[in-house]
């Protein structure tokens, strides 16, 4: 896929949550650029901070440190995290979000029409009613909802249909970037395929940029141009999709890939076991966060934090031994 201009530059995002004197570092020093029209996948186990990262980028959370440089449609570069509320309002409609659970992310007491219309009401209060409804109808039809049913309430729709409502709500403002937080995880496989195809088509049609957060590696591999792997709040590897899946450079990525069940019984990938569980993010291990579970761990790993560096063009990794290790990925035939 051809890369457009840089649309977002996520720089050194930190997010710390304080509660009862305990500081949880949910996201630590994550940076990556995003180009217009591409899809960035973010994967990792639960609790690794991928959702927090997504929410920081749309500024649903106020990150503790860092900046998100956003190139507006006029070519101006602004720091999305520093602008005041008034300016924020102007740009917020350009970055939208689709949520994980299609059951709890829609207000059960609003009709579908009202749900999709709400962003318009909030952002264009003076827009004539008729135009608003026309816009809603258009977008609803585009995402494959039957416009005759828009007066109904969410409970009358199935999971896949609800996710379409969520997509329509995100799209109605003509955003440029959509953060999809586990947007298809709650759906059945055949419905999942429908929604993924829809997201694909919409991207082509509107030139959308996606930040696709998911724990499902198959889906991420399918949809993304570049993928970031997170572990315990840190980005441990970031690379073009094929590079990452074929030649992972971080031992965590390697284990993660080997754990994916492949839908083919003749492929029995040798699993590289991860022992133990994700450590407590309030009290992460010293040095490389992954060293407690890493099979390539050395003295140095437990003392020194590995630098996040570019190994090959576009392939970033944070591992002391990235140069010497030959890790196993998938072999593309």
């Amino acid at each position: 896929m051809s890369k457009g201009d840089q649309i977002l530059d996520v720089r050194n995002i930190h997010m710390r949550f304080n509660s009862k004197g305990i500081c949880v570092r949910a996201v630590t020093d994550v940076s990556f650029p995003v180009y217009e029209g591409e899809t960035i996948g973010v994967v990792g186990e639960s609790g690794c901070g991928k959702t927090t990262l997504g929410r920081c980028i749309v500024r649903a959370y106020e990150p503790s440190e860092g900046s998100v440089m956003y190139t507006t449609s006029e070519g101006e570069i602004i720091d999305f995290l520093k602008i005041d509320k008034q300016t924020m309002k102007k740009y917020r409609k350009e970055i939208q979000m689709i949520f994980q659970d299609p059951y709890s992310s829609l207000d059960p007491r609003m009709t579908v029409l009202d749900i999709i219309k709400e962003p318009l009401l909030a952002n264009f209060p003076r827009m004539p009613k008729a135009e608003m409804e026309r816009k809603v109808m258009d977008i609803a039809a585009r995402v494959g909802l039957n416009t005759a049913y828009l007066k109904r309430y969410p409970h009358a729709f199935s999971g896949g249909q609800r996710q379409r409502i969520g997509i329509a709500r995100a799209l109605v403002l003509n955003p440029r970037i959509i953060v999809c937080d586990e947007a298809v995880s709650a759906l059945d496989v055949s419905i999942q395929a429908q929604v993924i195809n829809l997201l694909h088509d919409l991207q082509k049609e509107f030139g959308l940029t996606y930040l696709f957060i998911s724990h499902d590696l198959s889906v991420v591999e399918y949809i993304s141009d570049r993928v970031g792997v997170m572990y315990l709040g840190k980005m441990v590897e970031f690379a073009p999709t094929k590079n990452l899946f074929e030649h992972p450079m971080h031992p965590y990525t390697e284990s993660l890939l080997s754990a994916v069940p492949v839908a083919d019984p003749t492929v029995q990938n040798e699993r590289i076991p991860l022992t133990g569980e994700i450590p407590n993010p309030a009290n992460p291990p010293s040095g490389c966060h992954f060293h407690t579970r890493c099979r390539y761990c050395t003295e140095r790993c437990s003392q020194e934090v590995p630098a996040y560096r570019e190994m090959e063009p576009g392939h970033y990794v944070a591992c002391h031994r990235a140069e010497e290790l030959k890790l196993k990925g998938f072999s593309y035939e």
Binding site: D188, L256, P261, P273, E277
Partner: protein, 350 residues
């Protein structure tokens, strides 16, 4: 499979199982005649989307469905103490089924967080089955439970025994749930989406654990899931379910290599196989699974099928037909219709 040796190996046989649910709008037939056999030591995968009746089928085996659900048909289980017995003919609150339920057939539920009571310690809850089925001696029961907890890989079992569910992580809780199911060495283990709520790395650990325990205990597993990846990893045979019916059943390798039923093909085509070149579009069947209320005649997949034959598929009900070694499908477009108009030409066109 009708010869004697095969039937001896069979541990569970489901014949024409129907489950009806009474609703305000009428009777909903959620399971519409399921036929299944599970042999000793094998893992059978039951695959289907939500609402296809796979969980109801598994719960019917144990007789733990909701009161509103009525099961008909036969579920024949090769019980240790009762011989071959139809579980549905037993009193669901009687002594016989209790000697089977939890002891000879046990179940792992989908969400470990919900399956445990937050009010009791893990050890206490695992002990429940031990005390009921194995021994009345509490000290002995504790030993047995601890032993199983160690077997399923719960580190520091003595300490963990006295902890409450909220002190466990998801993966550990799932292990505890497996320990609870295995404590009586069941002959058949029903695993209802045991890894859906878990991360891939933990999922891989749990699946491997189940496989190795299966070898140790020599049990059969009915593995219910919608995830085709875990099925490929775990199962010997696969039965695909759609709208309360088995539409295709075959050995695992066969079903991925050579799927026949249009629904199975769609299901496999809708999943991107990781590590391969991405196809341009994922396959997706039109529409969604219809509600099993007032279903029209004919094949349940008719509305969404790409190979439907008008005048055949919406008139007659397809039955499972043998088309190869242990490979059965219920589809007129693939096997031709015994009632007249054939579907063979359609196949040649494809």
């Amino acid at each position: 499979m009708n010869n004697e040796t095969a039937s001896k190996e069979t541990i569970l046989e489901i014949r024409d199982l129907k489950v009806n649910i009474k609703t305000d709008e009428g009777t909903l037939t959620a399971v519409r005649g399921v036929n299944l056999t599970i042999k000793k030591g094998e893992t059978l995968g039951l695959v289907g989307e939500s609402g296809c009746g796979k969980s109801l089928t598994s719960k019917a085996i144990l007789g733990i469905n909701d009161k509103k659900c009525k099961a008909e048909g036969e579920i024949i289980f090769d019980a240790e103490n009762l011989g071959r017995v139809n579980l549905l003919s037993l009193n669901p609150r009687g002594k016989e089924i209790r000697s089977v339920r939890g002891k000879q057939i046990s179940m792992i539920f989908q969400e470990p967080m919900v399956a445990f009571s937050p009010m009791y310690t893990i050890g206490n809850q695992i002990n429940e089955a031990t005390l009921l089925h194995i021994t009345r001696d509490k000290k002995k029961a504790r030993e047995i439970s601890l032993d199983v907890m160690k077997k399923v890989g719960i580190a520091n079992a003595e300490k963990r025994y006295d902890q409450y569910p909220h002190e466990f992580s998801g993966g550990m809780l799932q292990r505890a749930l497996i320990a609870m199911a295995l404590v009586c060495s069941p002959r058949l283990l029903i695993a209802d989406e045991p890894t859906t709520a878990l991360d891939v790395t933990i999922q891989a650990q749990i699946l491997e654990l189940m496989k190795s325990l299966q070898k140790d205990f020599g049990m059969s597993i009915l593995f219910i899931t919608h995830d085709l990846g875990t099925v490929a990893r775990m199962c010997d045979r696969v039965a695909v379910m759609y709208l309360g019916r088995i539409v295709e059943s075959a050995p695992a390798v066969e079903i991925y290599k050579n799927p026949q039923h249009p629904y199975t093909r769609g299901l496999i085509g809708s999943v991107h196989k990781i590590g391969t070149k991405a196809q341009e579009r994922l396959f997706s069947s039109e529409g969604t699974v219809p509600l099993a209320l007032n279903l029209p005649a004919g094949c349940g997949f008719y509305d969404r099928c790409s190979r439907r034959i008008d005048g055949v598929c919406n008139v007659y009900d397809p039955q499972l037909v043998d088309i190869g070694q242990e490979h059965q499908i219920a589809c007129f477009a693939c096997t031709g219709c015994p009632y007249g108009k054939g579907g063979k030409e359609e196949k040649a066109n494809e």
